[in-house]
Symmetry: D2
Subunit: 334 residues, 4 copies
């Protein structure tokens, strides 16, 4: 089998990062086409990476028979139409998370994917491919903590992003945090606990950025969810932290696993007048670079070996539903 | 002013530990009387510590005019009558936590205490006097983390205690874990967040010790509470941990404080084939010895200097109410 | 057997701390006599603790036949005469470290102790009784790290003490740091490695407190010692740290044990703008309080049960010799 | 300026890793030639990476005028001739560490490099480019710890490599550990302390792998070095650790920086029956992948911008001399 030939839809930061990985670090793949509504952007990316085909129309790109696989790195609103079209064009599809912003879109994607079931489809919940999360999952599979009964997911952005976020909310670009950031932890909760949400409660508030309140948004959200198998998920999201702070804990009947309990920036620690200090993570790409790479490598490997990617369109749907339940619970209990 | 002369009611482990502290480590106090229904026990303790007066009847002891202060270290069911009697006898009173098992008893205590208001009264939520918790509170007071918006309290016993606990439950000795162990975290939540519970949700289950289920008890409980000032409390209790694990986190608008995030047994760490290992706390007294001592020293100091102890009978009432709300929430959502 | 009756020589901070422990926390012992050249001090201590006998002359105190054991908490220069006299008076003896400042004094003590060999004698290297060091030793005895081949001992005082130290050096009160602070690590090295120093090398300097140089003293000293059994000791002392920082590491052929690698002040940690912060130890007594208590309790237990204390006068001699070798190596290689 | 065109000498693991980085992750560079005595190997690498030129003779490759820069990834014995030839051919040169095994070879390299001084030359001490070490250096430059007075470098391999190592020693492939592994820490010591070794002492032994002794080799070496500026370096190397353990500490007059004090494998930690556990680093490439990449990127940037690489041939010479002094000190004091 030759190299898997990719067409990329979307040339923002994520799209270009994906191209870099496919192009440079995954020898079994190559990027032969790129698509973006912004023509200049298309040309720039073609030039930077030596990509032969450029498109401003997604439909057009999908007709290119040389393309084996499509990577969709556009905004969530655009995913449904692009996935459905790519399914019809019988491509393998890697779609960034969240799968969509509406459940009906997710369901339409699920259906299209079902009808293209001899091709690979996955949605990019990259945390599952972070070496630490992958190891945590492996340990749990091996029974090291018994049966998981509690997932605690904390995903916090530094407060430095607050102003820009408020602008985004005002402009209708950003969705509330349980839906945006929450998509990761809802997926992790389902993945680790192997269940779906049954009963959600959520509190929180716009404690620091009061302006969020009138948009039904908040800068901190705290939630508790009973899963349908009797386990529980505590999911906390926020945007007022001192660093980029994503940590998780899975409590089992026989032990507990933590991931990134202290979000250390690197291997440096210092003794200063303040005491013992470890600087913390600020750079999103630094933390998740390996995960982004690993999930793509895994996707290429699935195509090559006819394996089905573990993360399905249904996972995308269920994550969104879970997020919406958390956000609704917040609104109900406000 | 001479030494504060204490009479002790109850000579179990807690009572004797208290005597040791009053007798040996707090020079401004002395223990001159001890009371227990078990006469042999009374005599043994009198002898061990050289305590002049011994009683098997609490009322009798309270008539001893040499006694300035009473320390009540009996079971929670007995507290109400003893506190009320001690109030009538115009003694300073230190009552172990929980204040009582019924809210009506708490209220009766509150009333008696009000009528004895020129004497000191406190209830022994010793965690407030642990050097680390005290420092956390101090930092928060100093504004180091801004406004507290979330308290996370985790209190876990090692699974080694499970069988004995089930026996206790069967014999009606033990109350459910949100009420027993939860009393600490509910008090901490109120103390750190400076609010009272408004809306509680709780899940959990008898995951390991199935026998608990028929007693409406559980080996793990997870709860989320909205406080009346908009803050949130996550309280987790359990009895299936690998060690004695009590940790807390207070999240503020400007920073976060953790207490005992890794419950290290001591200062030893090892590199072994398993990796880097720190053994964990198993010994309750070892962890809280300083707290038990500090709170008693503080109580004696309050008496000496006419200060009112910070922890009031009302705190005892409110902690119990909070615990009951958590337990009820668990039952409601079961 | 009745209580062990102690006479205390020296009523400085150490002496009074020892009295508090013997008096209050070790029920098998009582302090019946206290001796200090300063009469007012003697009276004050007698009153504070209710000690019947007070002396300003050590020889006089030793004639008191009610005294079973003597605790010597004077300056190291005074130890020899006091120990020799106490041996002649057939007392059990607990002598603070260092045993003496001259090797000939140590040897005189060793001889006197030999002739009083049916009584207990020990020298107060309290670190051996710190719960963490004791556990480290136990683990090593149990073979958990194989054969120890390297001891690394780091003992640092905070730089806040530097000025006072220079004054002390100018006034001839303080000895160089390899001899003063080094006494602990030389003893630990011998204890953990079960060998004696054969070949010492040492560097360092008066990097911050230049004034020390003319007294052949230094604010940091770094040394490497080959032990006579082929193991190695790295001993580092200093007075310019950001906290009170005493850590040790024992490297074995199969694993490594560390003690107090991060000298955490307590159980608190914080997320601040600086990152993840753990405040560090500043209070000497806080760190070693348990050790001081445990070693005294062990000594009383030795007397009661006719056991020989593990730490001998010879250990005191060998520690001093080791310290002197380190200091001499520093001078030689300067 | 076009891309920097590289020719690679040596196609072992290091060479191929370098090609991957140049080829895939550094867009300003391309690999156009590869050289190895083993023809099949050359062809395989050419094919894998699409490299146009292949050589089995280094001199031949150096005559290719399209090549701007040469990366030498052969054994240390071969470095001198290759560097000298590459200098004569007026290429930029990146030479893996150690620079050579003999000081005279180093000096010959230094001279050749001087005569090719308008081209870039560097030697691959990659640790300097590890993000954590780079940050440590930056903090020190910024005065955060005052003047560095002590460097502690610990470089340990897991004991799992011992048998293979002994074989290598028997076959004359491996040099003693102070020279092999020590090259990193000697370079770091010089880099952080900004001085050169004046007086070295070293102990150690073949504690576990007795067979090393007859080759004047050892499985653990402990050394103390006085630098010519009054600072001190403690360098410890070993091959009997429980993991791949490389940690460093730089002590300054005002603070201390540590790098990788606990060599955590990833972000996972667990609570198990053993206690709190963090698995440790085993994979060399995992730990240093970023460093290998960063140093190469820096080298390419130096060429592009006419900057001189910080790490010079002289650094290579001085590191070797330092290593030899340590090894000689070990032999002298044996």
């Amino acid at each position: 089998m030759g190299k898997i030939r990719f067409g990329i839809i979307g040339t923002g930061n994520m799209g270009r990062m994906r191209i870099r990985n496919l192009h440079c670090r995954i020898p079994q793949s190559e990027v032969i086409a790129v698509c973006d509504m912004r023509e200049a952007q298309v040309k720039a990316v073609q030039e930077e990476f030596g990509i032969p085909y450029g498109y401003t129309d997604c439909g057009e790109m999908l007709q290119n028979p040389e393309i084996d696989a499509v990577l969709i790195a556009t905004g969530a609103d655009a995913h449904k139409d692009q996935v459905v079209a790519a399914c019809k064009a019988k491509k393998h599809i890697f779609c960034e998370k969240p799968l969509a912003k509406k459940v009906e879109d997710c369901l339409a994607i699920e259906e299209a994917v079902r009808e293209n079931s001899d091709k690979c489809f996955t949605v990019g919940f990259m945390r599952r491919f972070d070496p630490s999360y992958a190891e945590a999952k492996e340990k749990i599979k091996n029974g090291e903590i018994g049966t998981p009964i509690l997932f605690k997911g904390v995903s916090l952005d530094p407060s430095t992003v607050l102003d820009a976020h408020l602008e985004g909310v005002k402009n209708g670009i950003y969705v509330p945090w349980f839906i945006e950031m929450g998509s990761h932890d809802t997926d992790l909760a389902r993945w680790f606990l192997e269940g779906d949400p049954e009963d959600c409660h959520a509190f929180g508030g716009a404690y620091v950025c009061k302006g969020l309140e009138e948009y039904d948004d908040y800068d901190n959200g705290f939630s508790l969810t009973k899963m349908d198998n009797g386990a529980t998920a505590y999911i906390q999201v926020g945007r007022t932290a001192t660093c980029s702070h994503v940590e998780s804990e899975i409590v089992g009947t026989k032990g507990t696993i933590r991931v990134n309990s202290v979000p250390r920036k690197n291997y440096v620690s210092s003794f200063t007048e303040k005491g013992y200090v470890e600087e913390c993570q600020e750079d999103f790409m630094n933390r998740w670079g390996d995960a982004f790479y690993n999930e793509l490598e895994n996707f290429v490997d699935c195509i090559e070996n006819g394996r089905s990617p573990e993360t399905t369109a249904h996972d995308g749907t269920m994550s969104l539903k879970f997020c919406q339940k958390l956000h609704q619970a917040y609104l109900d209990e406000k």
